[in-house]
Amino acid sequence: MSDTVNDAMGPTLLERRGAIRQLEGHVTGCAIARDSQQVAFVTAEGDVVLADRADWGRGDAWTVQTVHDGAILAVAPDAAPTGFLTGGDDNTLRRMAADGSVSDLVRGRRWIEHVTTWCDDKGKGGVIAFASGRQVELRDAGGHGTLKVLEHPSTVSGIVFDAKGKRIAASHYNGASMWFVQAKVDTVRPLEWKGSHIGIAIHPGGEALVTSMQESELHGWRLSDGHNMRMSGYPSKVQSMAFTRNGKWLVTSGADTIVMWPFFGGGPMGKPPAEAGGIPGVMCTRVACHPVHDIVAAGFADGSVLMADTGAQRILPVCMGGGEAVSALAFSPDGCALAFGTEDGRASVVDLSAR
C-alpha cells in the first residue's frame, strides 16, 4: 500500500526538512506554543518532549522530561505566548514553561482528559478550560483563579472555545452544551441529540457546532436557529476534525480518504463531502488545518502523513507509513511547522518555512 506510493515519489518532506525522535510510549498529543517557537509532544508514559525552533531539524536535541505520574491525556498551548498545559490520568493539570520548568495548577480527583485555551490576537484576555468528569472548569490566564465551574449531565468528551473566546461548548451524552465565558449567571444553551457524542468542533465564524458520534457519523447544529445537521457514511469513528481557517470546509478523519464537508452554498445539508486524497484501505486517524493557506494535513493508521490542497487537490507526502497510527498532529500558529506523533512513539517535526 504505502510502499507503492513511496516508490513513485522522491524523498519525503520529512526526510528533506524534518526530524524524528523515537520516544518510549504512545504519543497522545502534540501542541505548538502560541509564539510558534516550541513544539511539545506528550506520551502515555507521562513524558513531555520539547523541541525548540532552532532544533526542529535535530531530534537528538529535544528534551524529554517526565511530568505526570501516568498517561498524559491532553495537551494545549498555554494562554500565554509560550509554554504548555498538560492534563493526565494522575488527576493533575500541569503547566510547563518554555524553559522546561513545571508547576501544578490542579490536583483533582478525576482524570483530566481535555484542556484548551484561548487568548486574543494581542495575547490578552486569556482563559484556560479543562474537563474532568462531568465538570468543565474555566480559569484565568494565570491558571490559579477559578472563573467558573460548569456542570454537565454526563462525562465531558470534548471542549472548544469559539473563535472570539466568548463561548465554550462541551460534548457529552445526548448532545452538547454551550456557555458564555463571561456571563455573570451561567445559563446553558443545550443542544440535544440522542446518543454518545465523543468530540467537538466549532465553525470559526460561529455558524455551526459539530460533534462526532459513537455511531461513526457527525451531528451538527446551525447556531443561528438550532437546525440539526447529520453527516454520515463513515466506515469508522471520527476521532479528529477541524475547520479550515475560513470555515469553508470541515475536515475529518474516519475514512481512507480525507473527508471534507462543505460549509458554504447551503452545505453541508444535502451536499456530499469532498475527498482530498487518501491511502486506499488505510484509515485516516488525525487531521489538522493550516492557519494561513488552504492546506490540510492528515495522519493515517499506518503512520503516513500527507498534506493536501483543499482547492486544487494536490497531494504532498510528508512521511511514509510502515508503523503504527498517527495519534497526534498539529500546525504551528504561524504555519511554519507541522508536528506529528504516532502510537509507536515516533515524534516528528517538519519545517515548512520558506528557505
Binding site: 504512545h26 508514559e45 498517561a71 446518543g195 454518545s196 459513537q214 511514509m320 510502515g322
Partner: protein, 333 residues
C-alpha cells in the same frame, strides 16, 4: 523510515488483545473481597482495575480507575443495544499504555445489568480491536441468593450472563442448601462454570484467563446439561442447548441466527456456540449478547473429537422446538 516493517500476523494480533474480566454480583455478595483476593495474590501479574468506588481496595501496585457507570443507547436500530460509554473511554486510554499491565478487571455496581458492559465489547471498534472480553464473573452470596433471585430481575440477569459463577459464603449454608442453590442457578444458566468459595478464596485459575466463550470447555463442566430437558415456566430465564452432528451451511446459519436475534434479541440474554461448518477444518465460535453477534474461527478440531455443532441460548420466553427446528435446518445439503 522503516518501510520494511510488516504488519503482525493475525494470530499474534489475537494474542495481543488484552483480556478483560467483568466482575458482577449483588450488593454484599463479596465482589470487593474477591477483587482484593485477586489483586493481592502472588501471581506476578499486573491488573488495571476499573471500579465504581475507591476505598476498600488495598492495593497500590495496580492501576485503579474510578468510573461512573454511564450507559447509553446506540442509535443502530437495536432496541436493546445499550453500551457503557465510560468504559469505551477508559479502556481506550488504558490501552495507550498496555505494556503496563497484563489484564483489565471491570467491577460493576451491585444493581448493574451486565448487558451494557458485554455489549460494549461487540459495539465499539476500538475496544474490539484491542481488548477481548475474557469472562463475566458473577459473585453470588449463598446465604441470600434464593431470596435475591425472587426479588430482583437484575440478580437473575447477572447469573444468566455469567461465564463463571462464584458461590460465596458457602460456610453459612449447609450442604443440602448449597445443592438446592446450585440447582436453582443451573436452571438459569447451565453452562457457566460454578465454583464454591467462603471469603472470595477462589483459585485464580478459576476466575482469570477463562478464554470466555469456549463452549466445549463449559460443557465439560456441566455434562448433565445437555440431557436435562426439564425447565420451569417459560417467563423465567433458562438455558437451552442444541446439538447437530452433521456439518452446517455457514450462510444458512448466519441468516437463521441473524433473524432469530433480530426477532428475539430482547429476550435472548446470551447465545454461544461452537460450530462445524461444512468444508472448514476449523471450529467456528459464535457468541451473542441480545442482538449483537460476533464470531470467528478458533483453530482446528482436536483429534478424535466429535465434530458436532453446539449452540446454547440463555434467555426468557424461548421456544425450544422452534429453535431446534431452525438450528437443524442449517445443515449443509
Amino acid at each position: 523510515m522503516s518501510d520494511t516493517a510488516q504488519a503482525a500476523p493475525d494470530a499474534a494480533a489475537q494474542n495481543a488483545l488484552v483480556p478483560v474480566t467483568v466482575l458482577t454480583g449483588f450488593l454484599g455478595a463479596g465482589k470487593t473481597t474477591l477483587l482484593n483476593h485477586i489483586l493481592t495474590a502472588q501471581h506476578g501479574r499486573k491488573y488495571a482495575v476499573v471500579v465504581n468506588e475507591f476505598g476498600e481496595l488495598g492495593v497500590d501496585n495496580d492501576l485503579v480507575v474510578d468510573a461512573d457507570e454511564e450507559v447509553f443507547e446506540m442509535n443502530n436500530g437495536c432496541i436493546c443495544c445499550t453500551v457503557r460509554g465510560d468504559l469505551i473511554r477508559i479502556l481506550g486510554n488504558l490501552m495507550k499504555r498496555r505494556a503496563k499491565f497484563d489484564g483489565i478487571i471491570v467491577e460493576t455496581t451491585g444493581l448493574a445489568d451486565p448487558a451494557p458492559v458485554a455489549q460494549t465489547f461487540f459495539v465499539d471498534e476500538d475496544v474490539r480491536g484491542r481488548t477481548r472480553l475474557d469472562a463475566v464473573v458473577t459473585v453470588v452470596d449463598a446465604y441470600n441468593v434464593i431470596q435475591t433471585l425472587e426479588e430482583s430481575p437484575e440478580a437473575v440477569n447477572q447469573i444468566a450472563f455469567a461465564d463463571v459463577i462464584i458461590l460465596n459464603k458457602t460456610d453459612l449454608v449447609d450442604e443440602a442448601g448449597l445443592e438446592a442453590i446450585e440447582k436453582r442457578i443451573r436452571s438459569i444458566n447451565a453452562v457457566a462454570r460454578l465454583h464454591r468459595a467462603r471469603r472470595g478464596d477462589v483459585k485464580l485459575s478459576d476466575v482469570l484467563d477463562q478464554g470466555g466463550f469456549d463452549l466445549q470447555r463449559a460443557l465439560e463442566h456441566a455434562p448433565h446439561f445437555l440431557e436435562d430437558t426439564s425447565h420451569s415456566h417459560e417467563a423465567d430465564v433458562t438455558s437451552l442447548s442444541y446439538e447437530v452432528e452433521e456439518p452446517l451451511d455457514a450462510a444458512k446459519f448466519q441468516a437463521w441466527i441473524g433473524a432469530v436475534l433480530q426477532e428475539q434479541g430482547a429476550d435472548i440474554l446470551r447465545a454461544k456456540g461452537i460450530l462445524n461448518y461444512a468444508g472448514e477444518d476449523q471450529r467456528f465460535a459464535f457468541q451473542a449478547v441480545h442482538m449483537m453477534a460476533d464470531g470467528g474461527f478458533i483453530g482446528p478440531w482436536k483429534e478424535g473429537e466429535p465434530r458436532a455443532s453446539r449452540l446454547v441460548f440463555i434467555g426468557r420466553n424461548l421456544n425450544r422446538p422452534q429453535l431446534r427446528r431452525g438450528f437443524e435446518s442449517c445443515r449443509a445439503k
